[in-house]
Amino acid sequence: MAKPKVASDWLAGCSGCHMSLLDMDERIAAVIDLVELRSTPITDFKHPDKTGVDVGILEGGINNTANEEVAKMMRARSKILVAFGDCAVFGGVPAMRNFFTIEESLRRAYIETESTDESGKIPNDPELCVPTKVRALQDVVNVDVFVPGCPPEADTIFYVLSELGQGRIPELKGNTLHWQ
C-alpha cells in the first residue's frame, strides 16, 4: 500500500501548532516513515497536489478571503481534513477580534498602534484580500478531525499523525485531549 500523502498549511494563527509539531523531535522521523509529506508552509512545495492528498492539515482560523480560498482548496484536495489547534477548531486568539468591528480592529492595527506616526493608513489596494470576521475552520468547510490545544502538545500531534499515517481516524480522549 502506498504511504498516505499529507499536506499542511497555516491560516490565521501564530504557526505555534507547526512549532509544536517540531517538538515531536526524533519521532518526526518515525512519522516521515509512515507518510509521504507533500506541501507544507515550511517546505518548497506550497499547494496540495491537484490530484489530491489523503490528509490535509490546517492550522489557524479563517480571518480573510485569502484564508477562505486556501481552506476551500485544501478541503477540495484532501480526503481527510484536520483542524489543527485551537484557532482552527474554535477561532482561538484571533477570534478575540470579533468582539470589535473590523473597522475598529484595522484602525487599531494600522493607525492607533503606539509605534505608528501620523502617516499610518489602512491598506485598501484592490488586489489585497478582504478581512472578515474570524471563523473556525468548520464554519467554512467540513472538518473530519478536530485537534484542540493552544498549541496541541507534541504527544497529541504524534498520536494524531501516527494514527492517520496508519489509515486510522484518531480519537482524542483522556491525556491526548487534555491541554494544560
Binding site: D86, F90, V93, A95, L172, Q180
Partner: protein, 646 residues
Amino acid sequence: MVNITINGKTLEVAEGTTVLRAAQAAGIEIPTLCDHPHLTPYGGCRLCLVEVEGARTLQPSCTLPVSNNMVVQTETKKVLDARQFVLTLIFSERNHFCPFCQVTGGDCELQNAAYHEEMTHWPLQPNYQPYPMDASHPYIILENNRCILCRRCVRACGELIGNFTLGFEERGAKSILVADTGVPLGQSTCISCGSCVQVCPTGALIDRWSAYRGKVTQVDKTKTICIGCSLGCGIDVLTRNNSLVRIEGDWDAVMNEGVICEVGRFTPMSEKCDRIVTPLIRRNGLLKAATWDEALSTISSQIKSSPKSIAAVVSTRQPVETMYRFKQLFSEKLGSEMVTSTEEGLFTKYTSSFAELLKHSFEGTLEDLKSADSVLVINEDLSHDHQVAGFFIKRALSSETKLLVIDQHENSLSKHANKVIKSTKGSNEDVLKALSAAVAKLGLTKKTAAIPPSELQSLTAKTGLLTDDYLDAAFVIASSEKPVIVYKDGVEIEALKAFADLINARLICLKGSANSLAASQLGLDGSLNLDQKKVLFVANGDDELSQKTIKELEKVPFKAVVASHASALTSMADVVLPSTEWLEQEGHYISSDGTLFSAKRSITPAEDILSPFEVVGKLAEKLGVQLIDDWAKKVHVRISPVELVK
C-alpha cells in the same frame, strides 16, 4: 424512605432527596455546573439531565426530588448527547476561549466538564457579543464574558453570607451579573468575603492576587484554621514553591462550612511589610544584625541583672503551647507578677470572672447561633472581627429569624435588625432591666420575672426611649423558642445573664483574637502596669499592637521583642528576634466557643527565623530553666465561661 433505581442499582433514600444527591450518595457521578453542595438547587445549567422512565423529556437531576420506584438512567446515548449539546450552548454563548483564561488547565469546571464528555470542539460558533467587565474591586475581578449564568455566586452571597450584593440584570442571553443596582463592585455593598470567587465554576469571578499564580494541579493545599479572630474558621491554604497563593474556606469545616471573611481570605494577601530575618541588637543607637546566641545572651543578662522587675507580654495570636511556655518561664520560674497578653483580658475578663463566680460554664456555642430563631446582639459589631458569626445571623434573617440590636453606637447590623435599641442615656444595665420589664409585660417570660412590668415606665425613662420601643424589642427577642444573645465582654454580665435566664436564651461572647480564651484560661488577662519595670519581653509574632499599647511599652528601659515584621514596636526595641508568622508555625487554638483546633504549618520559614515557641524555649535554656509543655491540663484549671471541647 423511598426506593429509587439508578443505572440498575436500587437505593433507599430519604424522601425529598434529589436524584442528583441520591446518585452521588451511591457513587454515581452526574456532571453538574450550577449545582453546589452548600447551595440550594437551582437547575440553571441543565448539564445534569437524566432519563427518567415514563417521563416525556430528560429531567434535571439536581432539582428533581426522588419518588418511590423511580427508575433513572444517567449514561444512555440520549443523556450523553444532551450533555454535549448543553455544553455546546454554554460554550457558544460567551467568550469561553480557554487559552487566555486564568482558571484554564484544571481549575475551570466548564473546561473539565467538556473534557469529561470528551468534546474536541463545539459545533455552534459563539456570537461574539461583548459583555461588561468590572475590575473596580480591590480583590475581585468580575468578568461577565466568562459567566455561564449558573448563579452560584448570587446564591452564595445571599444564602451563605446574607449580604445579597450580587444579582442579575436583564434576561436570557443579555443577563449580566451586577452588584446592587448595577453599581461597580468596588463601590457596592460587597463586604469582600470572596465566597463568590470560591464558588465560581469558571473565570467569571477571579481574585486579583492569585490569578495566574498557580493552578490547582500546581499548588499544595494545607487544611488549617484562620487565626484572624477567635472563631476558628477552617481554611485551605494554597501554596506554591513555599509561597502563599490563595486562602479558601474549608467546605468540610464543621463550624464555618466553607465560609470565611475578608480578614481570613484577602487580608493576609494584601499585607506588605518588611520581614525581620535575623536577630537585631541595638548598638550605638542603631539596630544591627547579630547572632541568635548574642541576642539571647543580651536578653538573659538583662533578666538576670533585674530579676524583680521583669514584664512579659504575649500575643493572643500565638498558639496555646507558646502562651503556656511563656507563662511558665516568666511567671512561674522567673517570678514576674506582670505577665499578660497583648489583649490584657479586654475581651474576656468579665465573662471569665463571672464563670468563676457561678462555678460553672454558662455560654452557648456557635451551633446555637446557627439554629437560633431570634438573636440579640448587644454592643458587638460584627463588621470587622468575627464576621462569620455575623454571616450566620444575616443569612438566618431570610428564614424568619429575628434580630434585635442594642448598642449606643452605630452598629453595622442595625440596618438588618427588626428592632434597634439605641439608648441616649443610662447604662446597658438600665436597658436590660427595661427590656426585662417589657418581656414581663408581654407575658413572654420563661421563669418568674424579677422586675415587674409596673417598672417599665420608670426604667424606660432612664434610657431616654419610649416604652413602645421596649415592647417591640421584647417581642422580637422573646417571642421565639431558641433565642441567642451575642455580647461583647464588658456588658454588665449579671444583668445580661438574668435577662437571658428570663427568656431562656443562650449567651455567646465572641471574645477577641484567635487565642483570647486560652490566654484567659492561663490567667494571661491582667492589665498592663509597667511601673518600676526594667526589662520587657514581648512575644508579639505577627500581631499588630495598638499605638496606645506601644506607647505604654516604650516606658521600660530594656525591651526585647519577638516579631515577624518591622513595626513601631520593633523600632523601639533593644533586641529584636525574628519570628515566624502564623502560616509558618503550628500549635493549638481554643476558639471562642471552646473548641480546640490545631493549626498546621503551610509555609516553611527561612532558616534564621524561629517560632515564638522555640524562642521562649531557647531563652529558658539560656537561663538554665526547665520547661514542661503540659498546657493541655493547665487550660482546664480555671473554670471556662464556655465548656472546653477537646
